[in-house]
């Protein structure tokens, strides 16, 4: 078993466009205080930010969990539904169901989940009507 060094939990509200990215900004600041390669921090930050935006624009709200291990950073993004109808489709680049409000924010390119997967060393997604759960693991070199 990996030893957990630190764990932070951030609540993310649905449709809270004004604060979109606040959790990921805090996550990035936390990671900058420990000695991790900046390119790893950037990968975590981008994946976290996309996941946070997804919770805000697509879900009924949820939480982001940052776990720091000796050799790995893990982000969990768990929301309270309504779930993704077709996960395979959502994972394909360019597919989007984003609202106009989300598009006005600069999102809705259909790159969120593909981006998250791209930046992850290990990526898991499960989704049903009760919620979508992402696990994003990024190894520290």
């Amino acid at each position: 078993m990996r030893e957990l060094i630190k764990r932070y939990v951030f609540q993310v509200q649905a449709n809270d466009f004004d604060n979109a990215g606040a959790a990921s900004s805090t996550i990035k600041r936390n990671l900058k205080t420990i000695a991790i390669n900046p390119s790893i921090v950037r990968k975590v930050a981008v994946a976290s930010y996309e996941a946070e935006i997804n919770i805000i624009i697509h879900s009924n709200g949820g939480e982001m969990v940052l776990e720091i291990y000796e050799d790995m950073i893990s982000i969990k993004a768990n929301d309270k539904g309504p779930g993704i109808q077709d996960v395979d489709l959502a994972m394909s680049e360019g597919f989007s169901t984003a609202s106009n409000a989300a598009r006005e924010l600069g999102f809705g390119a259909g790159m969120g989940l593909p981006n998250i997967k791209k930046y992850s060393d290990n990526f898991k997604i499960t989704s049903n009507e009760k919620g979508t759960r992402l696990t994003i693991d990024i190894m520290i070199e």
């Binding site: 004004d18 979109a20 990921s24 990035k28 950037r42 930050a45 996309e50 600069g106 999102f107 969120g112």
Partner: protein
């Protein structure tokens, strides 16, 4: 190219980031879609981001990618919260009345190439 040269070429107004005017920029990326910017993991702090998106997500995106220079195009006046967030994150923010195509064209003609997936590295 230095940041102050970008400002001069685009006749841009600098809102925040005086301290970054002598910073060297080696490439650019232009988009209004932040997820497309975020997909660009080859970007780094030596890139200038050219965008017409006038909201805090523009700054958040730059923050996540460690970008430090943004040109807001099409004559948009940045919202105060956008300027403030840029200041908090040490990001230079300037605006030009030029549109995105012409802004990029001017920079490209002066040797600022696009960061892209096609880079050999």
């Amino acid at each position: 190219m230095k940041v102050h040269e970008i400002r001069e070429l685009l006749n841009a107004k600098l809102y925040v980031g005086e301290g970054l005017l002598d910073k060297e920029i080696i490439g650019a990326y232009a988009s209004d879609l932040m997820s497309d910017v975020l997909a660009s993991n080859y970007l780094d702090e030596k890139a200038v981001l050219v965008s017409g998106l006038n909201n805090v997500q523009l700054i958040r995106t730059a923050e996540m990618l460690d970008l430090s220079v943004i040109v807001l195009v099409r004559g948009k006046t940045p919202h105060p919260e956008v300027v403030e967030m840029a200041r908090e994150n040490g990001i230079a923010l300037m605006t030009t009345t030029l549109n995105m195509y012409n802004s990029c064209g001017i920079l490209y003609a002066q040797g600022v190439k696009g960061f892209s997936n096609e880079r050999a590295d």
